[in-house]
């Protein structure tokens, strides 16, 4: 049943121009960054050869792509998640799902995984761009893998938060703005905190994403993302159930 919902969500995502615009926009930016980084690598390549333990092709070209993608997705995930529930409420199509023999959990997970699949597509595009370098050099597969895992967890958290905010309102635009605000708070919370020992650092999305960029997977970071995703999915399910009780 979850598959049915995933299919339905992906279909409505790709029949609207939004998904294509986001993908195209992302690809233009990533392509441009990719080319400038390749260019840069070619100019410094000779010097790098003389330095011991110098950063390689992966560090200079591929890793920045993941960093840029995380920021572009921070801006665009609210646009993708805003419609998930808010628009169905607005068009009164939610009734079709609620009257069907489905649990709220299936509805929420279906909508969530559809968004995650879309985001994984973006990760896949970045990996493909990196792989296009293979004929000319060597890549660090481990580093690319940790970056990919990090990006998926980060954007997975974005999707969960966006889904929850979309459950709170009937206006897609309100959902988008609210989601963006939530992201920015979580993103900037560590920049705004001057005390390095402050527990607020633990809440920052960016902080936890950084270690993946550097190629290490820490259990605490994993737990942070998994917990964040689980909490917002459970909140979404509860919120939709409450709808039935209060309406």
């Amino acid at each position: 049943m979850i598959r049915t919902i995933i299919g339905k969500e992906l279909r409505s995502l790709f029949t609207s121009p939004l998904a294509w615009v986001v993908l195209a926009f992302l690809q233009i930016i990533l392509g441009w960054i990719f080319l400038t980084r390749v260019d840069y690598f070619l100019t410094v390549q000779a010097q790098l050869a003389r330095v011991p333990n110098a950063p390689g092709l992966t560090e200079i070209v591929v890793v920045p792509l993941f960093g840029i993608a995380s920021i572009v997705l921070l801006m665009s995930v609210p646009l993708l998640t805003m419609r998930l529930v808010a628009e169905e409420r607005r068009n009164q199509t939610m009734t079709l799902l609620i009257s069907a023999p489905l649990s709220m959990t299936q509805i929420v997970l279906g909508k969530y995984f559809a968004t995650v699949i879309f985001l994984a597509l973006v990760g896949g595009l970045i990996v493909l761009m990196g792989l296009s370098l293979l004929p000319g050099g060597k890549l660090d597969a481990g580093l690319i893998a940790t970056n990919l895992v990090g990006l998926l967890l980060l954007t997975g958290s974005f999707a969960a938060i966006g889904l929850f905010v979309s459950c709170l309102t009937t206006h897609p635009v309100v959902a988008a703005v609210g989601t963006l605000a939530a992201f920015l708070v979580l993103w900037l919370i560590n920049i705004a905190t001057s005390d390095p020992a402050s527990p607020l650092h633990l809440l920052s999305l960016l902080k936890h994403f950084e270690s993946f960029i550097n190629g290490s997977i820490a259990v605490t970071d994993l737990i942070y993302f998994v917990l964040l995703i689980a909490v917002f999915l459970i909140l979404s399910i509860r919120r939709l159930d409450a709808d039935r009780l209060r309406a």
């Binding site: 049943m1 049915t4 339905k8 279909r11 409505s12 029949t15 609207s16 068009n91 009164q92 199509t93 939610m94 009734t95 079709l96 799902l97 609620i98 009257s99 069907a100 023999p101 489905l102 649990s103 039935r244 009780l245 309406a247």
Partner: protein, 325 residues
């Protein structure tokens, strides 16, 4: 469908109540429906028809009360119960960006129609709702009447035991209304159908039972026959060539209420008992020139106004909501 299944109880709701804060939208509504019956939920706007239907379909949790669909408790086992219901809400839940076939396939899959049977189910639903040539059309480009039909097709695609239609004929032209009524009658033969409407003749045309709601309460619940009796038992229409003053007729009919329809025609509302014989005798004795005497079937509208206004004289009379007429 076997014979034993014909009289099987498909919907049973007991004292459903739904409050929004202090305001009780639906109070103590109970209903029962068997397979092969069509129930009409009638009431002015804001009477609680939609709220009742939302509770019957699991879209809204009742504040108190119980719903059983084919013996399955809707609150304890919602998934099993919901798979036996087809629901067309007031606003059809259509994805405008899908084609009719795509949408019906989606609705079928959501209602767990097995893959091999899906295409056939889509075709059958389309054909029953008069959408045979519309399969490739975008739902968003269809007219309101056709969108309404897609909504009905969605509700019957999984061949549910109970079909709940919220104002199914709204926004349709007279021909389409007739077609939809025929379809509902058809569906009512081996399913249970509940439909809400505020069009009174519609109830007489398609329903076996009527429940009239007003301000969230049931003010009338009977079979269509019962409704007709209720209408008939009310009044007599009498035509007199030499009509006496109204008071004389009233006295002859044991103090019935008499109103003049025109100079010669009167409507007599007895206050208990049947005044027919007394009226005939009085007319002959006093030479009133009786030329017509027949039970005045109160129009459904009158019954409706009567039922819903009785309420207004009651305790709730000064809480101003919309009037029934």
């Amino acid at each position: 469908m076997t014979n034993t299944a014909i009289s099987e109880l498909t919907v049973s709701a007991q004292s459903l109540t739904r409050s929004y804060g202090a305001n009780r939208a639906v109070r103590d509504v109970s209903l029962e429906l068997r397979r092969g019956e069509v129930l009409g939920l009638l009431g002015p706007n804001g009477a609680g028809k939609t709220t009742t239907m939302q509770m019957l379909t699991g879209n809204l949790a009742p504040s108190s009360g119980q719903v059983r669909i084919c013996g399955i408790d809707l609150i304890d086992r919602p998934i099993q119960a919901k798979s036996r219901i087809g629901y067309l809400p007031e606003v059809p839940p259509l994805y405008k960006e899908l084609k009719v076939d795509e949408y019906l396939r989606l609705a079928g899959r959501l209602h767990k129609v097995k893959k091999p049977a899906l295409q056939q189910a889509v075709e059958r639903a389309r054909q029953r709702c008069g959408l045979s040539d519309m399969g490739k059309r975008l739902i968003g480009s269809l007219s309101k009447g056709y969108q309404q039909r897609v909504g009905i097709a969605q509700a019957i695609i999984h061949d549910p035991d109970v079909i709940i239609l919220d104002e199914p004929t709204i926004g349709l032209d007279p021909n389409q209304i007739r077609e939809i009524r025929t379809l509902i009658r058809d569906l009512g033969r081996d399913h249970s159908v509940i439909l809400s409407t505020h069009i009174l003749p519609e109830v007489e045309a398609v329903c076996d039972r009527v429940q009239i709601l007003h301000r969230g309460e049931v003010v009338f619940y009977d079979t269509i026959g019962g409704l007709k009796q209720f209408r008939g038992g009310q009044a007599l229409q009498i035509g007199l060539r030499n009509p006496p003053p109204r008071e004389d007729i009233a006295r002859a009919a044991d103090g019935a209420e008499v109103e003049a329809i025109n100079a010669n025609l009167f409507r007599v509302r007895p206050n208990g008992g049947d005044p027919t014989e007394a009226l005939v005798r009085a007319s002959v004795e006093r030479g009133w020139g009786l030329y017509q005497l027949q039970p005045a079937l109160a129009s459904l509208e009158e019954v409706f106004v009567q039922l819903t206004q009785k309420e207004e004289d009651g305790p709730g009379a000064n809480t101003s909501v919309e009037s029934a007429s």
